[in-house]
């Protein structure tokens, strides 16, 4: 499993680690990527907004800090520098403002702990990735957003690691189902060709062309009537990126039954799903059952952060 994941990691230059919830194990995954999986690669690291406190602000639980090896490039807000215990070399100032000061790129002259507070806009992140590569980085890791917000991750990263865990919900079934749903949306296939764009109504467009490109978001209320009156059958719907799909799992299932293809213009690739069977709120799942159920729901490696990566 780990070997397959390592192979998957080789294939992307930018990677975003996104979580279904707090305490899903994002930082554990990051630390694993930075130490075990780095294979001597020059890595660059940043986050979407502020993350990485040593105590989780929401749950109050102790959480691991991000530990980077010497040579790593880090982009973080200027006010965070005093919380980083690496020996620092400032290499670039980005001009990107944050509430915690300008985002600064530094190089770790020694290994150590870092606190990340990167740009909050995806366009800024995309630009920052470019800067990282210019400065000699081989792979860029982004400590990404939570839940639905992470669906737009394609703009900044080619590959995604999806982290989920017991903290998301008390019911294991609910955790698996919702994670699988996000996974499914995140991994919608890339549209090879773009169908005509919807102008007046989706129904007209589908009747004329049998397929449609929806420029905005895709809701249940747009799709369900067309499923009921039979317009949507064997067709193809394309949206810009996974964040535009606001369909319930039920509707997604119905589209599949009707043989309707749902595709995205900008597709990302989920490289693996990680699970954390222990919740920050007191309960825990049976680790083997959780991992097995999750594995049945997705077709990429599923890894237990507590055992395989810790």
């Amino acid at each position: 499993m780990i070997e397959q994941l390592k192979q998957n990691l080789e294939q992307v230059r930018t990677m975003s680690i996104v979580g279904m919830c707090k305490n899903a194990g994002k930082t554990t995954v990051l630390n694993w990527l930075l130490s075990e999986a780095q294979r001597g690669r020059r890595l660059a690291l940043t986050s979407i907004g502020r993350d990485g406190e040593s105590t989780d602000v929401v749950t109050g639980t102790e959480k691991p800090s991000i530990y980077v090896p010497a040579g790593t490039l880090i982009a973080t807000a200027a006010d965070m520098l005093r919380l980083c215990d690496i020996t620092k070399e400032i290499v670039y100032t980005t001009g990107i403002p944050t509430p915690l000061g300008e985002v600064v790129v530094l190089k770790a002259r020694s290994a150590g702990y870092v606190q990340l507070a990167g740009p909050s806009m995806t366009t800024q992140l995309a630009h920052l990735s470019g800067t990282f590569f210019d400065l000699g980085a081989e792979q860029v890791l982004i400590d990404g957003a939570l839940g639905r917000k992470s669906l737009g991750a394609r703009v900044v990263a080619e590959g995604i690691i999806l982290c989920t865990g017991a903290s998301y919900h008390m019911s294991m079934e609910k955790v698996v189902e919702d994670t699988a749903n996000i996974y499914r949306i995140m991994n919608l296939p890339k549209a090879e060709t773009l169908p005509p764009e919807v102008e007046e109504s989706l129904e007209d467009c589908l009747r004329q062309n049998g397929e449609a490109y929806i420029p905005g978001a895709l809701y249940d209320s747009m799709v369900l009537p067309l499923l009921q009156n039979g317009t949507l059958r064997n067709g193809r719907l394309v949206v810009q990126d996974p964040s535009r799909v606001l369909l319930t799992p039920d509707t997604l299932g119905k589209l599949e039954t009707r043989n309707v293809k749902l595709e995205v213009r900008d597709a990302a690739r989920t490289l693996c799903v990680t699970v954390n069977p222990i919740s920050a709120y007191g309960w825990k799942f049976d680790k083997d059952e959780f991992q097995t159920k999750m594995q049945q729901a997705v077709d990429v490696p599923v890894i237990n952060v507590k055992e395989e990566l810790a």
């Binding site: 005093r82 215990d85 020694s110």
Partner: protein
């Protein structure tokens, strides 16, 4: 002190001129944004600036590559003046500040040889840079010339020890067994804290070492800004033609001057700006002419060029003799305060009073466009005649545009828009009849916006009657008009 509102800057086309400049450095951009005007006491500084701009303009094509390179270096400069001032005040600079200061010094180091190469040709006056090397050697003690900023291990013996120890602990952490790791981590935390405080000492020492150099470094920022601005002024002169005026003690004489904004506007419509020439002396000068915009343009163009000159620009003209004014005041017909509740005429008088108070403080330029147009023509004419007579005695060059009767004979000098003076109305009438074109457009094309000086007796311009003839007004009416003239 000359101070011009944003509104007036826009009206006379000064803002347009400034918007065509692209200050590359934050220092240059600031000089453009906060434009300052040289006063009569700063004659020498202004002459130096004008000389420098003229020299820069003269070599603009020969040194284009160098100018571009200078622009590129200036573009990379960041505004580090606050960090420098903090150093001078004894505040310990942080990592990022030191990085930015180092970057600034490196850019200065790149700029100076480029500047010197240009200066070999242009021989700029009163523009020198201090050597950034002493400061740079503080921030880059190992002379690595790297872009990044890093406190080297060798900065203090203690720092070297700490860093070596930190590295040793990191390695042992890597190989240690789980049970020993916490102890190593705690030791590491202690070392990191000590490293941090040792680095702070080094940073404070660097700040202290830079502090005595700060005045020079701030001066360099100002020089970079001046160089930036003067190259922009030179390129402006190349674009719109520029002449270095001869300084006078009172006379203002402009030959074939233009207004870049209106030039560009007309060019879009495939028309040409007619250059304006005017000679003005202390006292009131009146400009009259048909009401088709020529008078206002003349006033605005005078104001624009005077202000450009006093801001250290070459003047958009073929020839210029200019004095330095204490203040420049203008009242244009589209006054904003009309909306503020007062009647148009009332607010005009209020504005006039305010402006006159300032004008009487020292040698000034005072421009009045269609003054007192807000009242009935009989009263208006009387008022403007009185104002004109008064302004003859004020220590200022005053220019009034008007189409009220008998104002001109009260003034020291009188100019008139050439307008349709040299056009044969009959020829135009035939042209108009022959084509289906818009008559107004054709007349506008024949209109000569140039000025001529009226000596002695001043006839009312006959352009209105001529326009009636050209547009073939009903002959019965035309006959009545002609009879009444």
């Amino acid at each position: 002190m000359i101070s011009i509102s944003f509104d007036d800057k826009q009206k006379i086309g000064l803002q347009y001129a400034l918007d065509t400049l692209h200050g590359c450095s934050p220092f240059g951009a600031e000089k453009i944004r906060r434009l300052r005007f040289y006063g009569p006491q700063e004659r020498e500084e202004l002459e130096t600036e004008l000389y420098n701009v003229e020299q820069a303009a003269r070599f603009a094509s020969e040194l284009k590559t160098e100018y571009d390179k200078i622009g590129m270096v200036l573009c990379q400069m960041k505004d580090i003046r606050n960090s420098l001032r903090r150093c001078a005040e004894g505040v310990c600079p942080d990592h990022v500040e030191l990085f930015e200061i180092k970057g600034y010094l490196q850019r200065l180091e790149n700029l100076i040889p480029l500047y010197e190469k240009v200066d070999e040709k242009t021989n700029f006056r009163d523009l020198t840079f201090f050597d950034p090397k002493p400061a740079l050697s503080v921030l880059d003690p190992e002379n690595t010339r790297s872009r990044g900023f890093y406190i080297p291990d060798n900065s203090t013996p203690r720092l070297k020890e700490l860093r070596t120890e930190k590295k040793r602990l990191e390695e042992s952490l890597f190989h240690a067994e789980e049970k020993d790791k916490d102890a190593i981590r705690m030791e590491r935390t202690k070392i990191c804290a000590e490293e941090d405080s040792e680095e702070m000492k080094v940073r404070a020492a660097m700040g202290k070492a830079i502090a005595p150099l700060v005045p020079d470094l701030l001066e360099n920022a100002d020089m970079a800004g001046r160089l930036d601005f003067l190259l922009q002024k030179a390129l402006f002169a190349v674009r719109y033609g520029g002449v270095r005026p001869e300084l006078t003690d009172g006379e203002l004489a402009l030959t074939d001057m233009i207004n870049p904004e209106i030039c560009d506007l007309l060019e879009e419509k495939n028309r040409k700006f007619v250059p304006v020439s005017i000679t003005l002396n202390r006292g009131a000068t009146v400009i009259t002419g048909a009401n088709m915009g020529g008078k206002s343009v003349a006033l605005k163009t005078v104001a624009l060029n005077v202000l450009l000159f006093q801001a250290g620009f070459l003047v958009c003209a073929k020839g210029a003799k200019m004095p330095l004014f204490e203040s420049v005041k203008m009242l244009f017909e589209d006054m904003q305060s009309i909306q503020s509740g007062l009647s148009g005429f009332g607010s005009e008088i209020v504005e006039f009073q305010k402006a006159l108070d300032e004008v009487e403080q020292g040698y000034s330029l005072f421009l009045l466009d269609e003054f007192a147009r807000g009242t009935n023509p009989d009263e208006g004419a009387v008022i403007v005649q009185a104002v004109t007579r008064y302004l003859n005695g004020v220590n200022a060059i005053s220019i009034l545009s008007t189409h009220y009767d008998k104002v001109a004979e009260n003034a020291d000098a009188h100019y008139q828009i050439i307008g349709l003076r040299d056009i044969d109305p009959e020829a135009i009438r035939r042209e108009l009849q022959g084509s289906g074109d818009n008559g107004i457009e054709i007349i506008a094309r024949h209109m000569n916006y140039g000025l001529y000086r009226v000596e002695g007796r001043s006839d009312c311009p006959r352009d209105a009657l001529n326009i009636c003839r050209m547009l073939s007004l009903k002959p019965e009416i035309l006959k009545n008009i002609e009879a009444a003239y």
